[in-house]
Amino acid sequence: MAKKDKISKPKKSIHARGIEALKERYGWICVAPWVFGLIIFFIIPIFQSFIFTFCKVTLVTGALNTKFVGLENLKYIFTVDQYFPDNLAAGVGTFAYSFPIILVLSLILALMLNQKFKGRVFFRAIYFLPVIIASGVILGTIIGDTSSVSNVSGTTDEAVSANMINVTELVEWTGLPEKIGEYFNDAITKIMNLVWKCGVQIILFIAGMQSIPDLYYEVSKVEGATAWEEFWFITFPSLSRVITLVTVFTMVELMTSQTDKVIKQAYNLISSQMFGESSAILWVYFCIIGAILGVILFAFNHFCAKKWE
């Protein structure tokens, strides 16, 4: 069928129209299974989950019974549920400091790993390892909080990384008050936990940097630009798309991580068959995160990306 089209159409108009029409058909053929999958496994579930938010959902053998209750679920999670407001604050709080640190850290590491030096391949191979050895399950297991899923109010005990470098002793040795030592220790522990989450981001950044044409750098060298200027006027603007991708990825990664308290609570509610409340929690959480993401991306596109175009 397609062959016939291909032969007959160019006769009418010289190649262009025929090939364009053909390409449109090809495009749809490629995408068709995905569109089908999107509808079945993505769009319908999203609507269902949205409806669940406003329903009392009960499990009847093999099927779900939904009864519209309006804003009852939202009222429940904010007023009756004693954990949710705290968990939400904790989740957004963790997010607020993790996100910028991860982004900057992975960008710096990617910049270093992108230069030419001895052992580059070796270091690159190492820096991707956290994706394997510090994945959610592993951290959930060895960090000490194994009952993470069933433990709603418990604090995450970062026992593993606490021993890594003990700054408290160092600070004691210098004679500064103990509190400062604790503070430093806490901050460093947190940063180390964040390093483990940088693996994929570093890879994406390096891939992005590699696709910037060398020509730009050669020109800038001839013009006498410093490395700092090179970064701000070539690397950073060229990476704007990759930065957007990494932002979205990091965000989703952070909010769906196993140690996230809101996700844990939502899981607990699912286990105790409170599907409506669970949906409500997730929707509230993701709307908040989505709003933050929207603001970040808007600001980024508005103030950073456009500047150099």
């Binding site: 995905w34 999203i46 269902q48 270093m112 510090a134 891939a207 909010m255």
Partner: protein, 337 residues
């Protein structure tokens, strides 16, 4: 000497000035700064490597350490007494071979399907212009953005009662037969979305593929079209063979994500027989309590570490084998947009 240091740590700039003999002072300054930069670079990279590898050292060390060494303050990294007991326990608690079989059968096959299907979708999105493409691009961003947790309840329900477009419901209504297809606890919960390229993080995989196909020269395919090759011929004979680089990257991502996937598995697989490794690993504390009456402390930590090593070992081996290819492929995937 300066030349030697230059060569050893050489960054692009210092070479340029090396033949300008009149600028000796400038040159030494350049050399000193480049040496300082490389010292700083190695110091930073090595110290961050320590942080990165810390969990691995921690797990290996603890998993072979005998109980005597736990109370010995002199032992920090390298134990004095070795034991294989923790691995024995971990094998039992994980139900290792059964769980491994499940992981391979469910997760890895799904990863494989995802790698294939996403490639075709990305090819279509990158190569062809068609009506409605902007909507589809928006949907792509949305699939990256919306986490699985959000849609997992309805998805679980739909899988427990599989009914595409209400066909089975219609048959049931007409014939009165109570047909119900439950695919929870089978591999299809992972295969079905993967076949349709909406599996685990398919969005990001499609995106990476797409960026690669956009950078691939069109000329070959145009020539093939003019020579009368159809879509699938151009795709399988030209696009796929030249996308080895991106397939390496994407496969590593997809396989590792599937291997580590825990949330979907814990929702879909509530039958102990069908649990993959990740779920088993997350349940290990409860299992240890019933198996060995261990509630916590050194015994539990050691067994957990051994279990973690068992869990990551296959991925680690795969990564060590593919590592060179993977690192090189990153350079050539070309994500820009």
């Amino acid at each position: 000497m300066a030349e030697f240091i230059n060569k050893l740590f050489g960054s692009g700039n210092s070479e340029k000035t090396s033949n300008a003999s009149s600028l000796a002072a400038y040159r030494t300054k350049r050399v000193i700064s480049s040496v300082l930069i490389s010292i700083f670079r190695y110091a930073l990279l090595i110290s961050v490597s320590y942080v990165v590898l810390y969990p691995l050292f921690y797990m290996i060390s603890n998993s072979v350490k005998d109980l005597i060494d736990w109370s010995d303050p002199n032992v920090f990294w390298i134990p004095k007494h070795f034991t294989g007991l923790w691995y024995d326990w971990a094998m039992g608690a994980l139900d290792f071979f059964n769980a491994l079989k499940n992981t391979v059968l469910f997760e890895l096959v799904a990863a494989f399907l995802e790698i294939l299907s996403c490639s075709l979708v990305a090819y279509g999105l990158a190569r062809f212009k068609f009506r409605g493409k902007s909507i589809l691009m928006f949907m792509l961003i949305l699939t990256i953005l919306v986490p699985d947790q959000m849609i997992i309840i309805p998805k679980m329900m739909n899988f427990a009662n599989l009914d595409l477009f209400g066909i089975i419901g219609l048959i049931n209504k007409i014939s009165g037969a109570g047909i119900r297809i439950n695919i929870l606890n089978t591999g299809f919960v992972f295969y079905l979305p993967s076949i349709f390229a909406v599996g685990l993080r398919s969005g990001i995989i499609i995106y990476i593929y797409m960026q690669f196909y956009k950078g691939l020269p069109r000329e070959l395919e145009e020539a093939a079209w003019i020579d009368g090759a159809g879509l699938f011929k151009t795709y399988t004979k030209i696009a796929l063979p030249s996308s080895g680089v991106v397939i390496t990257t994407v496969s590593i991502f997809s396989i590792i994500w599937h291997w580590n996937d825990y949330y979907l598995a814990i929702m879909y697989m509530n039958d102990a027989e069908a649990m993959p490794l990740a779920v088993r690993l997350s349940n290990i504390q409860a299992v240890m309590t019933t198996l060995h009456n261990v509630w916590g402390g050194a015994k539990l930590t050691a067994t957990q570490c051994a279990a973690c090593i068992l869990f990551i070992a296959p991925m680690l081996i795969m990564y060590i084998i593919l590592q060179r290819k993977f690192v090189k492929s990153i350079d050539r995937v070309g994500i820009t947009g």
